[in-house]
């Protein structure tokens, strides 16, 4: 963070550094830069902007959230480091729920279709997003992925984010909850090492508990660390390999789905009201 390198300081050092940086680029673009700053052209002026640069993503996330609300879809954004067992957990989860309700999965990886194929083999529709170089999914990508999935009215959509405990924390996709998965093989200090993700999540799944007899991992320390960065986080210990702990996880999902279904009515009424106003406005224009 900025506190470590001191770049947040507003003192002289900060500005000196800025200039150094400018000169580095100046070697490539020196001539253009001279023109840009040449005197005699219109004088430079300041424009106040006050705009969050995540605003574009937020607009897409809000649109996704409205889409989900009007269809009563409960959406979970699964985040973790690579190898924590997200896909294995999802394979077991969709297999358990698919007879009960519509379920689908959006998979995010830099490359390959492997994960989506595993979900389809488990009996649920899946759409793979390949992010290329990007280290996270954004709300725009998710909005387009929805075009490739069947209607999920009253069901659950799982979004498996790119395996990365840093970047996906900052991107709202329109989900109801971020769920962070931490496997017992990763070390109990992860919540303190990667606090942004554990702060952003509402639930932590501690996975691979079937391996506890073989690894030195203190479950109490994991929970204490997570609560330190997020006093409101929930926690469930599971094993995607054996199914241990899945009862509590599936119940958490069923409760979320019920909430989404109950809220659908209100979302539809809000939509109806918005359409009614739009129609009244059109009628008024036509009549005038």
């Amino acid at each position: 963070m900025c506190g470590i390198c001191g770049c947040g300081d507003t003192g002289e050092h900060h500005h000196e550094h800025e200039h150094d940086h400018g000169h580095d680029h100046g070697h490539d673009h020196g001539h253009a830069a001279e023109h840009a700053h040449a005197a005699g052209l219109a004088p430079a002026r300041m424009v106040r902007v006050e705009q969050d640069i995540m605003a574009a993503n937020q607009r897409h996330a809000d649109a996704n959230r409205t889409y989900f609300a009007e269809r009563g879809i409960f959406v979970v954004n699964l985040v973790s480091s690579p190898g924590s067992g997200k896909t294995s957990l999802l394979v077991r989860t969709v297999a358990a729920l698919k007879a009960e309700m519509p379920v689908a999965v959006i998979e995010g990886d830099q490359q390959t279709e492997f994960d989506a194929e595993r979900i389809r083999a488990a009996g649920a529709p899946a759409w793979q997003i390949n992010t290329g170089k990007a280290c996270h999914l954004d709300a725009h990508m998710v909005g387009h992925a929805l075009e490739h999935l069947p209607a999920l009215e009253g069901g659950i959509l799982f979004i498996e984010n790119v395996g990365n405990l840093v970047c996906p924390a900052g991107f709202d996709l329109g989900e109801a909850h971020k769920v962070v998965i931490l496997s017992v093989t990763e070390g109990e200090d992860k919540p303190l090492k990667y606090p942004h993700m554990f702060h952003a999540a509402d639930l932590m799944l501690v996975n691979k508990i079937d391996l506890l007899p073989h690894v030195a991992c203190d479950m109490e320390l994991i929970l204490a660390g997570a609560l330190r960065v997020n006093p409101a986080i929930g926690s469930v210990a599971v094993s995607a390999a054996t199914g241990e702990g899945f009862g509590a996880w599936l119940d958490w999902l069923r409760q979320g789905r019920e909430r989404a279904r109950r809220a659908q009515h209100g979302a539809m009424q809000a939509r109806r009201e918005a359409l009614r106003r739009e129609l009244a406005s059109i009628d008024a224009t036509l009549a005038g």
Binding site: A44, R48, Q51, C135, L227, N230
Partner: protein
């Protein structure tokens, strides 16, 4: 890592402003970054130099102002400064803190012609 994407969003926001505010060149950008935003300032500078090439903000100066986060301490019943997730309340040491702000990555103002 995602500073590249953030810088692309920054350039898009500048381009979106160019028409309404009637400018064709951006010479400086003042960016406010909350202490709780997962953003590495040095990576922002590095990516800003790359992403702005060939755009209206080529060679622009990037000024980053870091601001502290704020949280509500449930123990003290008051607003406190929070510079890092997991830090205790500076007054009572409690960890029962509800984050109020500090995650923003906001363009404050720009210098343009």
């Amino acid at each position: 890592m995602h500073e590249m994407a953030l810088c692309e969003g920054l350039v898009q926001a500048l381009e979106a402003q160019a028409g309404a505010a009637a400018f064709s060149r951006v010479h400086a950008v003042e960016l406010e970054i909350g202490a709780l935003a997962a953003v590495e300032c040095e990576a922002m500078r590095f990516n800003f130099g790359i992403v702005t090439r060939g755009t209206l903000a080529e060679d622009a100066r990037l000024d980053i102002v870091e601001v502290d986060g704020r949280a509500w301490c449930m123990q003290c019943g008051t607003t406190v400064t929070l510079r890092r997730f997991g830090d205790p309340c500076p007054h009572c040491g409690s960890l029962q803190l509800q984050v109020l702000d500090g995650k923003q990555i906001r363009i404050r103002q720009i210098e343009v012609t």
